[in-house]
């Protein structure tokens, strides 16, 4: 049988927001682009993003600017963000949103007819462009339709709509191929038929999203198996700061089948209040010192803020996600949780039923149909759920090029650095757009200097052998049960609250599962066989889990999405350190690397007293790197 081969200039792995934006950019520069999606086109996890896309357009409050957005992002990430990524993101996101409008997106409007913007945790001003609570769907659909537009243009010019940009749906990439130290293409298989495919492409953009499926309770779909993280590691790239995982404070906790499914932060943005089983609005107890001057410490002021945001401090329900998740975790642990191990989130007392249905339609729908709860009348039960990985592929901020692998690019959730130790809600959708585009541009620039890089037969053979292997094994382990075991380990030992001894135990257990996973055997044929698919996903998740556990063990402090019971405080010395994971073919190695310091002009955007909370006196005294 002959191997199916395709030649493209750029291969984009992942058809979520970042992948599609990269593909549009590369195609508009005249390159031939292939887009790979693991599921059907348009089903990517981006559709689950509800709240909105943060961009300082200043449509609702004209005091907003990129500087304010930059400050909020750095603060949210506890200053561990790569400053340049946060800067590019804050500066470029308004243009990316407006651009979507020229492609047909229909955001909700202000009275003046501009794009409306809503409040969100950690953002000083109303900043999130949104469409009800289905903003991610709007982004995906808009870019999907933009790609159709480009295809129609190609069709008019060449007679073949798929001549310049083609979507390969339900295809899994198992290897990124390299020749002479540079990317040469990728290898994978059609999920439908199990048949193998070779893509020859000198530039590959990884935009595969997150790793949530490594954990037991997660808002991520089955696709969030860290494929891109693992592909990049195996191709020789680095992962940065994989210890930082965002547990979204509000996931559904009941019924068990929907445990983990997201309850959008907009519920709190629209006035939703968190209470424990004593009816106490507990968030006032959990305002950390660094946020004392921005958040209200009493109910009266918090309530007034919804009417008058200039003269009141924000309600503590809108603290950054890590703070709220930890607070809920503490309440439940102290026995003040609900029957099903969550806390109450109530918006029914704040807004009339009609307005709730209008502003939070899919939340109403979700609770009504899946949990039998009418959120216009009763409170929801919510608890933390693994939502987003801040860590990811180490990239050059301006080009999204993966450090150490020429021809490889990464954008979106799979890339690291942008969000530091904790991501603000709304920053991921704008992240996708800003760095998706930059990855596309990066690939275009790279190809100006680098031509085709043919794939060798040896590389093809090795990749093919890997795919065949699980079929040749007899009576080995079951991939479903190994996956469940891994999720148990990460949930119990690498979860919201971590300790050194448990992390070490996790590292050992993950190594053990990894060893056994080498024996995974698959029953049935190659044709659409989920057991076979999971065997590869499992391998990826194990690498990611190893990287997370080892990075978490190394970081002896608590910051953002990493909380150590044995090191509860934030330590300003640790802020200067990134953890870099690399793969030596056997195991993941983690080393410390200095965080690039902020240049003077960005440094000066902050009040020096604020910086003192995060930086060592020497850093503050130095006042920026140039």
């Amino acid at each position: 049988m002959t191997l199916e081969r395709h030649k493209y200039d750029v291969l984009v792995i992942g058809a979520g927001g970042a992948g599609l934006r990269a593909a549009v950019e590369a195609r508009e520069s005249g390159l031939r682009v292939a887009i790979i999606c693991k599921s059907l086109f348009g089903k990517a996890h981006t559709v689950m993003a509800e709240g909105g896309a943060a961009a300082s357009m200043g449509n609702v409050n004209d005091k907003d600017s990129w500087m304010v957005h930059f400050r909020d992002t750095m603060r949210g990430g506890k200053f561990l963000n790569h400053y340049r990524m946060a800067e590019l993101h804050a500066k470029e996101s308004p243009d990316r949103i407006w651009e979507l409008e020229t492609w047909g997106a229909l955001f909700d409007r202000t009275k003046e007819g501009k794009i409306s913007q809503r409040n969100f945790g950690g953002h000083e001003y109303p900043r999130l462009a949104h469409v009800g609570d289905r903003t991610g769907l709007e982004l995906i659909r808009t870019m999907q339709q933009k790609i159709v537009q480009l295809q129609q243009k190609d069709g008019r010019e060449t007679g073949d709509m798929e001549s310049g940009i083609k979507v390969f749906a339900e295809l899994t990439i198992t290897d990124i191929l390299k020749e002479n130290g540079k990317v040469s293409g990728a290898y994978g298989y059609w999920r439908e038929s199990g048949e193998e495919v070779l893509f020859e492409a000198p530039a590959v953009v990884i935009a595969t999203g997150g790793v949530g499926k490594t954990f037991k309770i997660t808002s991520n779909s089955w696709e969030g198996t860290g494929d891109g993280h693992a592909l990049a590691l195996k191709a020789g790239a680095n992962l940065v700061d994989m210890e930082f995982l965002q547990f979204h404070p509000t996931g559904m906790v009941w019924p068990p089948s929907v445990r983990g499914i997201l309850v959008t932060e907009s519920v709190r943005g629209e006035g939703g209040v968190l209470t424990n089983n004593l009816g106490e609005r507990f968030m006032f107890k959990y305002i950390p010192d660094v946020f004392k001057d921005k958040y209200a410490d009493n109910e009266a002021e918090a309530d007034r803020w919804y009417e008058d945001q200039d003269n009141n401090r924000r309600p503590p329900e809108l603290l950054p996600r890590d703070e709220v998740a930890r607070a809920i975790n503490s309440e439940v642990k102290a026995g003040r949780g609900t029957e099903h191990g969550g806390v109450f989130l109530d918006v029914s007392k704040r807004l009339p039923a009609e307005l709730i249905k209008k502003r939070l339609p899919s939340m109403w729908h979700q609770f009504y149909e899946l949990a039998g709860v009418d959120i216009t009348k009763e409170p929801m039960e919510v608890g933390p759920t693994c939502h987003y990985v801040m860590g990811g592929v180490e990239v050059e901020p301006d080009t999204a090029a993966a450090v150490g692998v020429p021809g490889l690019f990464a954008a979106g959730e799979v890339a690291g650095g942008m969000h530091g130790s904790n991501r603000l809600g709304g920053n991921s959708l704008s992240d996708l757009l800003v760095f998706g585009r930059r990855a596309g541009m990066g690939a275009v620039e790279y190809l100006k200097k680098n031509g085709a890089n043919p794939v060798s037969e040896a590389a093809i053979k090795a990749a093919a052998a890997k795919i065949q292997a699980p079929f040749d094994r007899q009576g080995g382990e079951n991939s479903y049960s190994l996956h469940a075991e891994l999720q148990e380990v990460t949930h119990n030992l690498v979860g919201i609250i971590r300790t050194g001894s448990e992390l070490k135990e996790a590292i050992a257990k993950i190594a053990d599962i990894r060893k056994r996973s080498a024996n995974v055997a698959v029953t049935g044929g190659r044709k659409f066989n989920p057991g076979f698919h999971l065997a590869f996903d499992l391998d990826n998740m194990l690498l990611v889990a190893e990287s997370t556990a080892k990075s978490a063990d190394a970081r002896e402090e608590s910051r953002g999405g990493h909380t150590r019971d044995d090191f509860p405080g934030m330590d300003n010395k640790w802020r200067q350190v990134n953890h870099i994971s690399s793969f030596d073919g056997e195991k993941v190695n983690v080393r410390a690397q200095a965080l690039p310091p902020m240049p003077k002009e960005l440094f000066e955007l902050f009040d020096v007293h604020e910086l003192e909370k995060y930086m060592t006196p020497e850093e503050v005294a130095k006042g920026g790197s140039n």
């Binding site: 089903k43 689950m48 407006w98 339709q145 089948s257 066989n529």
Partner: protein, 252 residues
Amino acid sequence: MARNIKLRIWRGDSTDGGLKDVVVEANEGEVVLDVIHRVQATQMGDLAVRWNCKAGKCGSCSMEINGKPRLACMTQVASFGEEETITVTPLRAFPIIKDLVTDVSFNYKKAMEVPAYEHPANLAPGEARMEQIDVERSQEFRKCIECFLCQDVCHVVRDHEENKKSFAGPRFFIRIAELDMHPLDTLKNRKKTAQEEHGLGMCNITKCCTEVCPEHIKITDNAIIPMKERVADIKYDPIRWLGTKIRKREGL
């Protein structure tokens, strides 16, 4: 409070297939997709099923449950009787691939045939001003999660394979309506092509698309019928037709 339930799952591929009976455990609050997953993990490791978000937002787990096109993730097991056998089959309007998975490429082909949005040439990014009341109609259609249940249930193609060539289906009628009602779209002749190329006239408004839509989009009342009326304006209404000729507003 787990109990055992009876499922009949269609298994097979394009050559052959049939309904297989299984008994599987179901817990309180579970949906049909949960029990299918349990069957997959414990009894049929290679049972093919599409799914993604498990929250009714991505539209992947479309199948037919007791003969009705539905999302498996939004169908509660408790909505069936204690003793009832739940029959699960793949979508019956599209070619079968394997088990519960069908080839839905028909829909993606149709998506590529609808002319894209055209932004006014003189309107730079950030300059657009649209009022909420002007975008609301199109926003309703943009809620579509592309589960293709409407395409599956529509008898025009479900019962007549030969119509697939000339009929875009409800999902793409709402796309055309969305663009025709988009306050800024400048492309002319959407109504004419809706009728002449996308087969709007084939629809006999029997409303099954609206009945199965998990997003509760009023496909028939808010998109298809308004489009039929708009088509009537330019094609079947002599007075309007004369008016557009005189005032030179053809196609808008």
